[in-house]
Every structure is written in C-alpha cells, then in structure tokens.
C-alpha cells in the first residue's frame, strides 16, 4: 500500500508541546493509521484494532486502525505528531520524572523511508510503501 502522512488540528510539529497540554491531549489520545474499508476488510481488520504498519526498510510501528473512506483503496495515512513509542515499545519510563507528555505514540517517521529532493535534500515523507497486518 502507498503510505502518506499529515497533520491533525489538535497537535503541532513533533507534538511534544501539544501532547503535554491536557486540553489538547484529551482530544487525540491514540496514534492511528487510516485505511480504506476495502483494504481493512481484506485483512480482517476492524476499526479500533491494533495493527502493525511495516515498511520496505524493515521498520514497523504498532498503531490503531481507523477504517475510513477518507483515504482511497490502497492508500494508508499516518498523522505525524506522535512520539515516545518505538516499534511497539513504550518509552515513557525514560522521560525525566514529571516531564513526560500526557499522550505518547508511535512516530509516523519511524515508518518513513530514505529519499531526498535532488536540489534541497528535502526528505520524502508523503509517499512511501507499507503493508498492514493485525497485531
């Protein structure tokens, strides 16, 4: 499947500030992947299931499935403000005490791959590939 990414209204950038803000954290509590019902049904994935998103360079992230027609068949979308989980592992205990954000989650960019613009060395974070399976 094609993997793409984008923003959410509640968070900004890497999300460290906004995920540490209880008013915003309350509104988006889980990192997720959007996938089309056609693809989800084919893999027996239901809305809210935990899934692995696996990439061609060998990384994988564990996120919640959001089954929606917002994305087309064959396209998966990740929001990119999450952090603090790495390949299924919760890193909360590694933060200084009392300074851990309320909400942690897998970073979309763990799943994004090599690739740069020829002029500016901009990274490619809007178009890669992945497979998705139930945990």
């Amino acid at each position: 499947m094609i993997l793409t990414s984008g923003r959410l209204v509640e968070y900004e950038g890497g999300g460290d500030e906004t995920r540490s803000n209880p008013w915003l954290a309350e509104l988006q509590q889980d990192m997720f992947v959007e996938m089309n019902p056609f693809d989800a049904n084919g893999k027996n994935i239901r809305n809210g299931d935990m899934v692995w998103v696996k990439t061609p360079e060998g990384a994988q992230i564990k996120v919640m499935a959001q089954v929606t027609e917002r994305v087309a068949k064959g396209v998966a979308f990740l929001p990119f403000h999450f952090g603090g989980h790495l390949e299924g592992k919760d890193l909360r205990s590694k933060y200084p005490e009392g300074a851990d954000p309320y909400v942690l989650g897998e970073s979309a960019n763990t799943a994004f791959t090599y690739g740069y613009d020829s002029v500016t060395l901009m990274q490619e974070s809007k178009c890669s590939l992945c497979t998705i399976e139930r945990v």
């Binding site: 793409t4 923003r7 959410l8 209204v9 509640e10 900004e12 950038g13 890497g14 999300g15 460290d16 500030e17 906004t18 540490s20 803000n21 209880p22 915003l24 509104l27 988006q28 509590q29 889980d30 959007e34 809210g48 360079e57 990384a59 959001q66 917002r70 087309a72 064959g74 990119f80 999450f82 952090g83 603090g84 919760d90 909360r92 590694k94 200084p96 009392g98 300074a99 851990d100 954000p101 309320y102 942690l104 970073s107 979309a108 960019n109 791959t113 690739g115 740069y116 613009d117 020829s118 002029v119 500016t120 060395l121 901009m122 990274q123 490619e124 974070s125 809007k126 178009c127 890669s128």
Partner: protein, 802 residues
C-alpha cells in the same frame, strides 16, 4: 484519532499509562483531568478558555490588578494574536486578539490553549544530565561548563564541523539571527532547522522562478480571490484560522474551492471540487490541468509575453499530458480536470495554496515549480486575489528561514561566497580574517586548500549520515560527534531507526527546549545527554514573521518558569564560554547574560537589504502591534491615524531604513502600485539574457517607474549611467565608495542609498525581469513527473524514471 463521542464517552482503548486508570470505564473531560491530577484549577481555566468577548461581571472589582499583554501564538504560521491577562505575575486568562486583522478574534484548539504551553506542569524544569541511565538535576553554570569543555575538546581534536547546531522555527527573529551568527562564530556551516524538511523545495523552487521564496500574497488577500486552488494542504486542520479567510471568499465572491489531495481532508469537505489523486503525481496532475488550458487557449498571452520566460518549453512538456496519460499516472479522469481548468480560467484572479503535501517529496522542487507555472500561465501573479499563497507551518519558520538558520547561507539569503561573508563581517564590525581563522579547510582535488567557510554544511535531513557515514566520504575532516537539538522535534524526520543508531554513536547530545522532546528518550544511551530548559516565546519578547511576511512583536507575558532561560540568553552563555561573546555582542547591550532584544533587531536591520528586513525597526513593529485596530482586514493597510498607508506588520520587503518610512509590500510583484507604496515587479536574479533571449520584463513595470521597461538590478555604476547618483547624500556616497565604488551592488550598500534613490525614481532595487519557468541550473529545467523512490507503480518507472 477522530471519533465521534457519544454522551461524552471517548471509546477505544487508551494506551498510555496515565490515562489507563480512567480508561477502564469512560473518559470525559473531568475524568481525564482527575486521571492526570489536574482537576484543581481546571474549571477556572475552562472558564477562561471559553472564547467570549464578554468580561465577567466579577472581574470589574479586580480589574485594576489585571494587566493585559499581547503575544502571538507559537503554533502555525498564521500569526494569531493572543491577549493574555496577568495577575501578580501569573497568566490567569486568555482571549484571542479581536483587533488583529489576522485572526479577528478567532483561535483554533491549539491557540485557545497556549496558556498551558507556557504554564504547563509537564515542562522540562531544570538543566539535567543523563548519568548511568538516570536524569540528574544540575545548575546552569555546571551545565554550560561541562558541555562547553566537551565541545571545545571535540573542536580541538576533530574540528568545529564535528559539532552540529540544529536550530528552530520557534526562535524569534532576533534569536534566529543570533543563532545563525553564533555558529558562524563557532566556525561551521553545520547548522540548519526545520524549514529544510518543510518548505525548502518551495523556497528553492519559487525563488528560482520569480525572485523571492515566500508566500506572495496574504491570508487576508484571499478575500479578493475569485477561485481558490488548494493542493497538498489541509489548512482546516493545519492552519485553521486561515480557513476563515478562504471561506469569506467562498461566501462573498462565490469563489469555487478546489482541493486536490489523496485524502478527503477536513479542507476537502469544504471543496466545490475535490480531486483525489495518487500521492507523488503532482506534476502530472498540474500538467494534466494545464493541457486543457493550453488546448483551449485560456492562458494569459499578454502576461506571458511581458513577464514570463520559457513558457513555450512548458507547453511542449504539457502537450504530452493528454487526458488519457494523465489518468494513467494520476488516476484522475480527464473530464474532471477539464472542469477544474475551466473553473480556474473563468474565475480570475484565483489563488493557489500549497503545503507539505507538495513539498515533502523526492520530486519536491519540480512540484513547486509546476505550481508556479500554473499561476503564471493564467496571469494570476502580482495581483490582489491571485498569487502563490504558500502556507508555512511554524510560528516563525518564515523568519528563521529569512535569517538563514540553514546550512547553505548567511542571513538574508546572501549565500556563503567570500562577498557574502565580507558583507556580514562589515555589519558585525568583525575582522574577516579572524572569522576565516575560525573555520577548517580541506584540500580539494586540485590540491588547493579550500575553506569550509564557503562550502555548504550538512542539511538537517542528512545529519544522521554525518554521524554514520565513513568520514573519508565527507567534505569535512571528521564525523559529527556532538548534536545540539535546539527547539527541534526529531520525530519530524524520516528514518528514525537509523537516527537512533546515530544518536547512540555520538559523544555528546544536547537538547535545549521547553519540553524534553523525543530526543530525550529515543536512544538507548545511558550517559552524555544534557537537557537544558528553554523558555517558551510567552516568557520572552521579540519579533516574529508570519507566513504573509508581516512582522509582529511579542510582549513578555510572564517571567521564565522554573529554571528556564530564553534562547538568546543561552546563546550568550555559550558564546561567553567559547570566548567570543565580546566580539559577537559588540553592538548589543547585555544585562545579566541577557542580550537586549531591540539591539539585535537594529543590528539585523542594518544588514538584511536583500529581502527588505531593514525598515522594520522595533519601534515601528511595536506601533503596529499596539494599533492593530487601524488596519483594514482585507488590504491590511492602515486607514487614518499616524500609521496611515502602512501595511500591517510591514511585510517584507520593507525597503530602506526605518526613517525612509516604506509601508511594506503586501503583495509581491504587484505592478499596480509604485514601489514606494508597496508595488513590485519580478526580480532580475538570473542575469539579463539566456541563450540569446531577453530575461528582462518587456513593457511591464510598476506604476510610476521612470524606466518604462525591464532593467537589471541596481549598482552604483547604473545610478551614474542613469544620472541619478546626484540624488545620493554625501554620507551615502561615502559609504558606497567604501564598499566597492561603482561596482557596489544595492544588496551590500549599508547606507541604503542606492535603493532609496532607485525607489525615488519608481524602480525596484532588484531590477525588473521576467519570471522563469525554465530553471536551467536545476537537474530538470522544466519540471518533470518522476515516480516516487518507493512507488506502487513500477510499470511507470521506465517512462518516468525516479
């Protein structure tokens, strides 16, 4: 994730430990706050967050003790004014800025909750270091000394380029400028920031098309648009307040909204025409729409003749993108694209908006230039309601880019040439040879020694490779050994697993931020990581540049929380430790290690001639902030009063010195106004001819220009030829003579005399040229569709190689 709540219940499992306790039953707002130990004071805050213009009755009695301070939201680049209520030094209430012409009393969820960003309890509170896997609190003095000693040791053994200074789009303008100057004094170009991975392809693509790499119009100017075309952008979520301006055009002008995006976003939900296309096929899509424009001869031929170079070559490329081929590559049917082309042709001027969906691609520079070609073909540039409205992402990513917290340029896009260094050394009052001595050099293939001062540093997108790559393959003596993450989220970068490996290989990691960030936890290091608490922008003051190039001034709302310090103070402390503080701050007053911000503004005013950051003195920016109510909400122009005629925030270029009183340039390249009143033409940046063809404008010029045709950029010699040098004052003439006599270019004239005189005669200092849709210095002079590196359509790779 986005879910509908039923009776206040957020369904679904909750993964983080602190919410977990409450999650077994239901989570509503109160349960959530209880679970987080935040119930106390929660209701008071909730009352303050209700966006209301009504002062609560009980506030009357205590009104005397409430101080009002104005700042600007620190999230996206729209630049919404935040009005803070402060009592006894505590930020107690918050209102959106009702007088701000930008947000008009509106806020999004993030803006409405910024008080918590500054006063939040999850802040990084003290300097800390990781010792044996544990975070240990320390003092600022100890932290600066320990880090400084290790860096000096690395500098001695591996050279200055082994320390990487990764800055931020959250710095104020003054902090960004000081940060850029700081790593120049340290002796490296290994510094960069977030913009590299946001809009670098825009800045490069757009600047190489018509001169400046920024949003050409403004959010407010979209009120004049007859059509709105959005591609690879989701402003409803990423720039929510900007959508207010889009919807005004939609309602008032009946302007159709076209949204092109692989995902049906919240923005797409407002669209009259939603175009779903395959990720990574932007160029094919744009050429596919333009195929219909050229096929029906809907292009603006006179505009192209006067102001565009290379359109025939674009036409030849577009010819290949007939409806069948476009559908094969993008997945969009020709009938829909014909409709889109017709809407854009029949509703001029139309504006064109793009964001990360267009830029963050291996083919990014081609995407952005295809977008520009689209607007140029329709004649939508340099006009109210038209333009390339590039929405930037962070509160000061425009400013930090302009001050070139980048690995390839000095402030103001002067580049890294010997001339650029000379210019800034003059501004700084610095001995150029001393600066040269700070940098390492390398032996080139020809056996000659080359200073790294004039070579590009490592961009942030590749710092990982700077650590992991064999040092023999690098253009510097040794690998990166220390990383400073100063207001940077590492999870905004791809390849995070490799990043983790790189972090573990470093000798030293320093994180400077109001929050610990993912940098604090990603790696498995147990030692050699320092966390230094920076203030938020609400605990300090200075200027910030919104996406539309307007500068706004933030007041300090509260004193720094806990042990946090503002970025400019931390920069000073490091400069002092490294022994160059007296040189670096020779023109800037410093009290208790805190540089005086207004002095910093004035210093950059003295050097930023290229893009006109010279007229915005601190006094002028503050006057605009204090008088927001006098500015028109569509044109941004002040209507009456002392600021009459000026544009809100003096959008750059604000030519000349502050005394010259230029009003700012609200719309780039708009020839319907004199340059002195904010008009412009396309910049003459690429020479006067290419392959025998004229690159200067033909018969197009800003109103009031005494040269009624195209002309190159100004020099002292050109002034003399025109017989205008007599208008220079004696002081200006002496300053110009000192730089390079007749060869002195307008960009390096520290007196501003050349541009003052050019503008007096109705001319743009940077010349008057055509925009070019053919960038012969780039790998693909005419933008081409190229398949993504990881493509789902391998059948297309042969035709459109990556």
């Amino acid at each position: 994730m986005l879910r509908k709540k039923t009776s206040g219940v957020a369904n679904g499992p909750l993964s983080s430990s602190f919410i977990g306790k409450a999650a077994e039953t239901v989570v509503d707002r109160r349960a959530f706050l209880r679970g987080s130990g935040l119930a106390i004071g929660g209701l008071a805050t909730a009352a303050a967050l209700v966006g209301s213009n009504v002062t609560p009755a009980q506030a009357v009695g205590s009104a005397a003790s409430v101080e009002i301070r104005k700042s600007v939201c620190t999230h996206c680049s729209v630049g919404c004014t935040v009005v803070a209520e402060v009592q006894n030094g505590v930020w107690t209430g918050q209102e959106p800025g009702w007088d701000s012409p930008i947000n008009l009393g509106a806020h999004c969820a993030k803006g409405a909750s910024v008080r918590e960003t500054a006063s939040g309890e999850r802040r990084l509170k003290y300097p800390m270091k990781l010792t044996g896997g544990k975070w240990v609190r320390m003092s600022w003095d100890d932290a600066i000394n320990e880090i400084g000693d290790q860096m000096l040791d690395i500098r001695k053994k591996s050279g200055p380029d082994s320390v990487y200074w990764l800055g931020s789009a959250k710095h104020s303008n003054e902090q960004a400028y000081l940060f850029r100057k700081f790593y120049a004094y340290w002796g490296t170009n290994n510094g960069d920031h977030q913009a590299r991975i946001c809009h670098s392809t825009t800045v490069a693509g757009v600047a190489n098309t018509w001169g400046y790499g920024a949003m050409t119009n403004s959010y407010n100017d979209m009120h004049n648009s007859k059509a709105i075309f959005i591609i690879g952008g989701n402003p409803a979520e990423a720039h929510p307040v900007s959508l207010m301006h889009v919807l005004k055009a939609k309602e008032q002008n009946n302007a159709p909204v076209i949204v092109c995006d692989p995902r049906f976003t919240r923005t797409a939900a407002h669209a009259d025409e939603y175009v779903r296309f395959r990720p990574g096929s932007d160029v094919a899509l744009i050429w596919g729409i333009m195929w219909h424009i050229f096929d029906n001869k809907w292009e603006d031929k006179e505009f192209i003749r006067q102001r565009v170079y290379g359109m025939e070559d674009v036409m030849a490329e577009v010819k290949k993108w007939d409806p069948a081929e476009t559908e094969r590559v993008t997945g969009v049917p020709g009938s829909q694209l014909k409709r889109v082309a017709k809407i854009m042709a029949n509703n001029r001027p139309g504006t064109f908006v793009w964001c990360m969906g267009g830029t963050q691609h291996t083919n990014g520079n081609n995407n952005t230039r295809a977008y520009c070609a689209f607007q140029l073909a329709l004649g939508n540039m340099g006009t109210a309601g038209g333009g390339a409205n590039i929405f930037r992402g962070h509160c000061n990513v425009q400013g930090a880019t302009d001050f070139c917290v980048l690995s390839h340029s000095l402030p103001g896009y002067y580049g890294l040439s010997a001339g650029a260094w000379k210019h800034w050394a003059r501004v700084w009052g610095e001995d150029i040879d001393w600066l040269k001595g700070r940098f390492d050099s390398l032996k080139g293939k020809d056996g000659k020694s080359k200073s790294l001062m004039n070579m590009k540093g490592i961009p942030v997108s590749r710092w990982i490779d700077g650590v992991l790559e064999d040092k023999d393959n690098m253009d510097q003596p040794d690998n990166l050994r220390a990383m400073v993450f100063w207001g940077h989220a590492p999870n905004s970068q791809t390849r995070m697993k490799e990043m983790k490996t790189a972090m573990e290989k470093l000798d030293l990691m320093v994180v400077i931020d109001p929050y610990p960030t993912v940098s604090a936890v990603l790696s498995d290091r147990t030692d050699g990581v320092y966390l230094l608490p920076a203030t938020t922008q609400f605990e300090t003051y200075g200027s910030v540049t919104a996406s539309n190039r307007s500068l706004q001034w933030r007041e300090k709302i509260i004193e720094p929380s806990f042990d946090s310090l503002p970025d400019h103070t931390i920069i000073y402390k490091f400069a002092k430790k490294f022994g160059f503080a007296d040189r670096m701050f020779r023109k800037i007053k410093v009290t208790d290690d805190e540089p005086y911000v207004e002095d910093v503004t004035r210093e950059f005013n003295g050097g930023m001639w290229t893009i006109g950051y010279t007229g915005q003195s601190p006094e002028r920016i503050k006057a605009h902030m204090a008088n927001q109510h006098v500015f028109d909400r569509t044109t941004l122009q002040a209507n009456g009063g002392e600021l009459d005629g000026e544009y809100y925030g003096l959008p750059w270029p604000c030519w000349g010195t502050a005394e010259m009183g230029h009003p700012g340039t609200p719309l780039l390249y708009d020839t319907s106004k004199p340059v002195a009143e904010g008009g412009l033409c396309f910049r003459a940046r690429f020479g006067v001819e290419h392959e025998g063809n004229n690159l200067l404008a033909e018969g197009s010029y800003p109103v009031g220009s005494e040269i009624k045709d195209g002309y190159p950029e100004f020099t002292m010699g050109m002034l003399k030829k025109l017989g205008w040098d007599g208008d220079l004052t004696a002081g200006e003439r002496a300053a110009i003579e000192k730089v390079a006599g007749d060869k002195t270019n307008w960009k390096v004239d520290l007196s501003g005399g050349i541009q003052r005189v050019a503008i007096k005669h109705g001319c743009a200092p940077f010349g008057n040229a055509k925009a070019r849709v053919k960038v012969w210095t780039f790998p693909d002079p005419i933008p081409l569709h190229r398949e993504p590196l990881y493509t789902s359509r391998r059948d297309l790779v042969a035709d459109y190689p990556t």
